[in-house]
Each structure stands twice: as structure tokens, then as C-alpha cells.
Symmetry: C2
Subunit: 326 residues, 2 copies
């Protein structure tokens, strides 16, 4: 843990109170001058920090930047997810960075954030716009001991975790559209892209990427998606602190991931189904050139969607473009 | 296509006859001196080439090296697999090189060979010995439009293609042990490692790697695998030309791959089943901590093994360590 992370963690632990520079210095085993230098550095990053003689330092406000030291300071110490956090000012795609870390042998739980992506993507290599500092574009590296066909469980867990984090932080109530979208009032506010590297019968590494339109404003939306997309800021009417949302999501995801590893996916599926706009709907799903029509009934044990055809036949679907016909 | 590839192709087309330097020069649009220089270069690589005034050049013998220009010259022009061939003197793992090419956007059909591997591996990250110039260690990059769970089809196709190539070139009759081994007299002679990069419902790229103990000699085998491993040379009693075997395998694999893309996997499965030592046997399969016992009955449409338990229940297995109990 860096000294900055430890200082920010100390601020966080004392709530709105002050932290003594002398105590901090002793605790961290550095000089008071070194603490002062780090405080100056944090100020230069946009942290507003008061210094009062005999009382110490007090954190007044934090800037709207994603700062690895700050994010690490916010993470519970026993979490798998978020025990290592990397923030990039700009990258092609956070999934690609996480994949490279996976190849280089990184442990599971590493999280990659970018303030902007130049080649953000959704399913099937589709473009995903990632304007600078307006959203959360992040990827988590996991190494679940599961078969490739069970990977849908992780997408379902991520959707559930993200919906819960948005409820907690923004007091909005997103719906989930199978397999990988979050909607507010029928408009897309977030998407999930799960990618894996696998042998036939085991996942070697899995990257779950999310893109959330957090503080995107109406005028930021390109004309072609203006009617189908939205953001947390547009729907709530207020700017959202991205670090708060990121922290909430990673904690929720960590909880869901432990459940999956413990074989308790069914519990996640129940919560997911209650938030899901797809279940109970008549749907039309495009898979390549094929079109499947029917009623979405439930998720199976691996997170696949079970569709009842008009003839009563039950079909198992693991992905595709879903059109809802309520 | 390089000039070397074109010269070697011309030699191959004329069988044991001679190729006129003047005609070659005209055909390839270079000077006779340039042809002469390339012939000298090929000689320095170990090619034995006679030059007779008024008759031209004649290829007498080729060295036992893997030479990309030579391998390309042997490939039928309309094949997907082998339209680009890279040979490395030494590499960590050919699957890793092919994976990197895939990430960099290489088209499907690229083949990576190595004369030796320092980190050759089998399933589950197990070590695979790859002594220099004694075997075929190669990986093929494919981009099949299929779901991750159908990838077993490719392993089945590769096993079938490799068994057929060994029959053609070495007149030996390997058995296949599901999912990924080739045996001669019950001993392992080759293994297949299929790895993929995928979204939940589509493969982005798939690498099918094979390791064949071609000219490995008995004294090359480490004590711990001496009783379970063998080589084509040990079983046939003669050295095998590795380029002949590689070419035969790539052509057979290309044919099988076209069948899979045309939806004709069932035909491959039939041939595979006839060569398979696993089908019809009582088997014990370890999958992580789980043990499955039963009779191997058949392959399903995706290449998974169907096991009939002692209680009559049918179970679908996509991978694991198989112990045959004939």
C-alpha cells in the first residue's frame, strides 16, 4: 500500500475529523516532512485538505478523478476484487489491458480503470463510446474454476452487483436486460462485456468489463443513440461521484463472486430475475442469421436464458440480440 | 510468396526432373543470377541441389529442418490452413505465439512451428517436453463462427486429421484417447491443446496446438514417462520426414475444418469414433475433485463424451483425465 493510500485511508477512517500529522508520521514510519510532501502532492491532484495547527489535516473535498491510491483506500482489506487497482488516463480498452495482465500472470481481483477509452467495445466488437471522465470504464480480472459455458454466471453477477450499486449510490432502480445491459426507463445506461481465455473444459482467465454512462449529459449523446441511451446524471438530475459508485460496485461484485465460488449462483439468479425486464416478456432474439421467438421464462443453472417457443418447446440461449415485445 | 517458396514449389511440381534456371528466372521475373543466388542460399540451408548445364537444377534431397518457404511450397494454394506459416528456432510455446498473432488481428489459417519449445504445455498447464528437431510442435490459428462449447469439435477434428496424416506418412495406425491424445500400442505419441479467446456466446479466436513425438528416441524419454510415451520413430523403426507429416496434417485439418464450417461435424465424429479407444470402454474420469465412472457411449453433436453411469443415467463430459478400464 502506498503512503498516499494509507493517508487517504486514515482520512476515511476518521470521517469528517482531523488526522494528526505527527501520529500519521509515526504510524507510517516516515518523517512529518514526508507526510507534508504527500499532502501537497494530493492537493496538486485536486484534493482540498485543510491544515490546522495542533489539530492536523482534514479532508474537505475530493476531486472527480479516478485515483488508484484513493480507490485502494476505499476497499475493504479482505476483498479479492480490488486488491490491486490500476488507473489509466486513456487506453484502447480496459478489457485488453486486463487481458494482458492476465497473460502476464496477474492474480485475480486486479481492476483496470480508464478515464477514457479510444477503442471501447461492446459485444461482437461493437463500438462503445467512453468520453473522458464522464463514465466508469473498468475491467476486473477473475480466475474462476469453472467451465467456459458457466461464464454467463459472472455476467449475471456483474449486472446484479452494478444494479445494486446504482441503487445504493444514486437511488435509481435500474432494470436488467438479458444478457448484458442495464436500463433506466427503458434506455441503456450500462453494458457488461465478459471475455475469457479458456481451454475446452476450464477458464484460464475471465475479464468482466463494465461501461457505465455516469455523468454523460444529454448533449454528449450522439444523435444515433440519443433515443436509446441515457446516463445516471440525466436520470437523477445530479452529478454522481464516480469513485463512490466504483467502490460500491466492486464491493457488491466481490460478494457475488464469493457466492458463485461457493456454488450459490441460484441466489444471485433469484435477485437478478426480480430486476430483469426480459423474464416474462415475449422476445425476439437474433443469433447470427437465426431468429428465435418466444417467451423468456427463467435462467438456468449456468445463467442461460430459457425461452418457451409458441409450440411449447423450451430452448436454452446463451447470447444474442434481444428485442422485447411486451 | 517468396522467391524461395516459388523455386521449391517448381521443384516439387516437376517431381524428380530438372528445372531450367532460365525458365524459372523468366517465370518469376528475376535475373538468372538472382535464381543462382537463391539456389546457393538453399544449399547453405542443407538442400542438396544438382546443377547440370542445359538441363538446369534438380532437387536431390532436403534437410530435416522446418523451413517456412518449403512448407509454404508444399501447401495447396486454396487451403485456409497454412496460407501463412511461421517457423521459430525456439519459442516458449507455439500456442502463445499464435495467440499473440490472433490479438494482433492475424487472419485464420496462420500456422506457427517451433523447432523446440522451452515452455511447451498440455492441458491444465502441464509440462510438455519438446526436444529440438525431434518432433512437431505447431499451432494453428482459427476463427470459427461457433459458440465456446462447440470448440471440442475442433479438437476432435485435429485428432482425426493427425491420425490420418500419421497413417498416410508413417503407415502406423494410431488410436485416439478422448479428449486429446493419440496412442500407439497404448502409449502416448501426440497430444492436442485447444485454447480459445471468447465472449460468452462466440469464439473470437481459437488456437489448436499439437505436439507429436516424431523422431524422439527411446533414450530421449525421461524415466517418468518412459512406460507411457512413445514416438513415431520408435514404433516404425525409421526416421520420419517431419515436413511431410506436417504438410499431411495441415491438409487433413483443412479438409476437416471445411466440413465443420459446413455443419458436417457428424461425419468427422463417425470417423473419430472408429479410431477411438475410449468409446465402448468402461472409464473413470477425474474432473477437479469429482470422479465419474461409467461406460463411454458416443460423442454428442458438439464433440462432448456421453458416459452411461452404472445406474443408467447419461452424462455429458467436455473434459477431464480419463482412465480406461477395458
Amino acid at each position: 500500500m502506498t503512503i498516499d493510500t494509507q493517508i487517504l485511508r486514515a482520512f476515511r477512517e476518521c470521517g469528517e475529523g482531523s488526522v494528526s500529522g505527527a501520529e500519521l508520521a509515526e504510524e507510517l514510519g516516515v518523517s512529518r516532512a514526508a507526510i507534508w510532501a504527500r499532502i501537497e502532492e494530493l492537493r496538486s491532484l485536486g484534493y482540498e485538505i485543510d491544515a490546522t495547527p495542533h489539530q492536523g489535516y482534514r479532508l474537505v473535498s475530493i476531486p472527480d478523478v479516478l485515483h488508484a491510491d484513493d480507490l485502494l483506500a476505499r476497499m475493504p482489506l479482505n476483498q479479492i476484487i480490488g486488491r490491486d487497482i490500476r488507473v489509466f488516463e486513456q487506453t484502447g480498452s480496459t478489457n485488453d489491458i486486463a487481458e494482458k495482465l492476465a497473460r502476464d500472470g496477474a492474480v485475480e481481483g486486479v481492476v483496470v480503470f480508464a478515464e477514457s477509452q479510444t477503442r471501447g467495445r461492446g459485444r461482437m466488437g461493437r463500438q462503445w463510446l467512453s468520453p473522458s471522465r464522464k463514465g466508469l470504464w473498468l475491467s476486473v480480472l477473475l480466475r474462476p474454476r469453472m467451465r467456459p459455458e458457466a461464464a454467463t454466471q459472472i455476467t449475471i453477477a456483474a449486472a446484479t452487483a452494478l444494479a445494486r450499486a446504482i441503487q445504493r449510490v444514486c437511488h435509481l432502480d435500474p432494470e436488467i436486460k438479458w444478457p448484458n445491459d442495464l436500463l433506466l426507463k427503458g434506455r441503456k445506461v450500462a453494458g457488461i462485456l465478459t471475455e475469457m481465455s479458456a481451454e475446452l473444459d476450464r477458464i484460464k482467465s475471465l475479464i468482466v468489463g463494465v461501461g457505465v454512462d455516469v455523468n454523460v449529459e444529454r448533449q454528449d449523446l450522439p444523435a444515433e443513440i440519443e433515443k436509446t441511451a441515457t446516463s445516471l446524471r440525466i436520470e437523477s438530475g445530479a452529478a454522481v461521484n464516480r469513485a463512490d459508485l466504483a467502490t460500491a460496485y466492486l464491493s457488491e461484485l466481490d460478494r457475488e463472486y464469493h457466492r458463485i465460488c461457493a456454488g450459490e449462483f441460484a441466489q444471485i439468479a433469484d435477485e437478478w430475475e426480480s430486476k430483469c425486464v426480459t423474464i416474462g416478456c415475449n422476445v425476439s432474439i437474433s443469433i447470427g442469421n437465426r431468429q428465435i421467438v418466444g417467451r423468456a421464462e427463467s435462467l438456468d443453472a449456468d445463467g442461460a436464458l430459457m425461452i418457451r417457443s409458441p409450440h411449447g418447446h423450451l430452448e436454452r440461449i446463451i447470447g444474442g440480440d434481444v428485442l422485447l415485445e411486451k
